[in-house]
């Protein structure tokens, strides 16, 4: 069964002469363990789609089914969006977006604290994640002292902390050189395979998407499956 499905999802910004049809009639789905790329030129609606399916931006019409529940049908259906985000979705951004006044360890700890996991279990989970991302030796550093690639790995560890069912990655490689970008992508691949987590990665760089299960192309807010 798929983790996420959209049906006829549209997003219109503004109205009248200022109207922008950012998404039009988007229907697609992602299953657990699947690695999906959203590809498209600038302004094609990639970020808008990601925001809508991450429960951050309100779509205009359509349906979103998440983890078996219809959560949007021309309007949100009685859900705590932030709770769903912290429990079921992990985020990786274009820039690592670590919280600069928290150490590496505390950054990874933060989402665990949000869902109320405490005690020994937390320390164990944090170490496990940092080791998985090969960054454990830097756990007491502040993010500013790490390289861009290292920071991005910490942010992936943070995204994984709560064992999310879905990872959203908006241009995770854009700030990195090709080699480091490929490393991040292969990590996402590894996660999808090993943890049965669905990954949706947005990119406009075709070189980054080799080995992905499916690639969706966005063009002027419309989607065609490749």
């Amino acid at each position: 069964m798929e983790i996420l499905r959209t049906d006829g999802l549209s997003k219109i910004f503004g109205s009248g002469r200022l109207e922008v049809r950012a998404l039009e009639d988007i229907s697609f789905s992602v299953s657990p363990g699947e690695l999906i790329a959203l590809l498209g030129p600038s302004g094609s609606g990639k970020t808008t789609l990601l925001l809508c399916i991450s429960l951050i931006l309100d779509p205009t019409v359509g349906t979103i089914v998440f983890d078996g529940d219809t959560i949007y049908k021309n309007g949100w259906i009685g859900i705590d969006m932030r709770r769903l985000r912290r429990e079921k979705i992990g985020f990786v951004f274009q820039t690592p977006n670590l919280i600069p006044f928290l150490t590496v360890r505390e950054n990874v700890l933060f989402p665990l604290e949000l869902v109320g996991i405490t005690g020994k279990a937390v320390e164990h989970r944090v170490m496990e994640l940092l080791e998985y991302m090969e960054i454990a030796d830097r756990r007491y550093f502040l993010p500013a002292l790490l390289s861009g690639g290292e920071q991005q790995r910490v942010s992936i560890a943070r995204a994984l902390a709560n064992r999310p069912k879905l990872i959203m990655a908006d241009e995770p490689t854009a700030a990195l050189d090709t080699e480091r970008g490929k490393k991040v992508m292969s990590l996402l691949k590894k996660i999808a395979g090993e943890q049965q987590t669905a990954v949706i990665a947005v990119t406009h760089d075709v070189r980054m998407v080799e080995g992905f299960d499916r690639i969706y192309m966005l063009q002027d807010g419309r989607m065609n499956n490749t």
């Binding site: 970020t47 990601l50 925001l51 991450s54 951050i56 931006l57 932030r82 709770r83 769903l84 985000r85 912290r86 429990e87 979705i89 992990g90 985020f91 951004f93 274009q94 820039t95 977006n97 919280i99 600069p100 006044f101 933060f110 989402p111 949000l114 943070r158 995204a159 908006d170």
Partner: protein, 318 residues
């Protein structure tokens, strides 16, 4: 009298005299140095008055050293003790003398003045139609101020006695005004100290308002600096209370630090103020809680800014 364990005569009087060449205002207290009530407490140096005459205990602020000889009126007094806590109701420093010495200093200024006064009285009394010179001589000592006056009697209650009922007895039988210690304090706060007290209160209020404004701006700036982190936190699902706590913690930390700093500064400098300032625990504690409330108010601007931050601001470039 029932309920009274001990009563002793007491005199206090604000004077302005020349000390070490400069004119100083201070309050003289005369008390029964042989076991009477109302003597100096908590001496910082020296001892209490032990002899019937010519010894004094003075407030440190008057700048005397132990053993110093101080001319006052017609005699010279030796400083035998110094103290730091305690002040007259008007904030002037205190000088303790034995009762007879105090009466003398207060009511007799100096020989010359006594002579002048005698002269004046004599001239007045011998004006045509009044008294003969002989009669005048006879009456003058009686007309001159009596130096054996006291202006208060201190009373110590017997254990278990009720201050109200003792006060009533004295009022009814002796026709004196009676004030219990509490009433004295109230009388002072409402009377002579009312104005300075209200001025201080006004200052405190103004200062607190100014601090709230400053802390608001500081917290607002701190929050604006963290706005991207706040957007990230919201995006990964942090509930509003986590965000509010983040802003509040900063405001409270800032306030507690400034409060402690202020407390340390004031407790180390209050003796330099021109008037005596009484610091008490209650005021300090009350100020602390008012400051905390101020911090919460000061955070409102920052909290409002944090809450209206959109999670989407975390996406995209910098």
């Amino acid at each position: 009298m029932n309920g009274v364990e001990k009563a002793s005569p007491f005199i206090f009087y604000g004077v302005e005299r020349t000390l070490k060449g400069t004119s100083r205002r201070f309050t003289i207290i005369g008390y029964d140095v042989f076991g009477g009530l109302g003597g100096p407490k908590n001496l910082t140096a020296g001892r209490e008055i032990r002899h019937a005459h010519y010894e004094m205990v003075a407030h440190e602020k008057l700048g005397f050293r132990l053993g110093e000889k101080v001319p006052l009126g017609i005699h010279t007094y030796t400083v035998v003790g110094l103290f730091k806590n305690g002040t007259a109701p008007d904030g002037e420093p205190l000088v303790y003398l034995s009762l007879p010495d105090a009466q003398e200093v207060i009511y007799l200024r100096d020989n010359e003045e006594i002579r002048n006064q005698r002269e004046r009285l004599y001239r007045t009394l011998t004006r045509p139609g009044l008294l003969s010179p002989q009669q005048s001589e006879k009456y003058i000592p009686q007309l001159q101020p009596d130096t054996h006056l006291v202006n208060a009697i201190l009373i110590k209650l017997a254990p278990g006695a009720d201050s109200e009922s003792v006060a009533r007895q004295i009022k009814n039988w002796l026709y004196f005004s009676v004030y219990t210690t509490d009433q004295q304090v109230q009388l002072m706060l409402q009377g002579r100290l009312a104005k300075p007290k209200n001025q201080l209160l006004l200052f405190r209020i103004i200062l607190i308002i100014v601090s709230v404004v400053i802390i608001s701006l500081v917290i607002y700036t701190f929050t604006m600096e963290k706005i991207r982190s706040i957007a990230v936190m919201k995006l990964i699902g942090a509930p509003n209370r986590v965000i509010i706590r983040l802003v509040l913690e900063q405001a409270l930390l800032l306030t507690v630090c400034s409060y402690l700093f202020g407390l340390i500064v004031i407790h180390n400098t209050y003796h330099l103020f021109p008037r005596f300032v009484l610091l008490n625990m209650f005021d300090d504690t009350a100020t602390f809680f008012v400051a905390l409330a101020g911090a919460v108010i000061a955070s409102l601007l920052g909290i409002w800014q944090a809450l209206k931050t959109q999670p989407a601001e975390a996406l995209g470039g910098h």
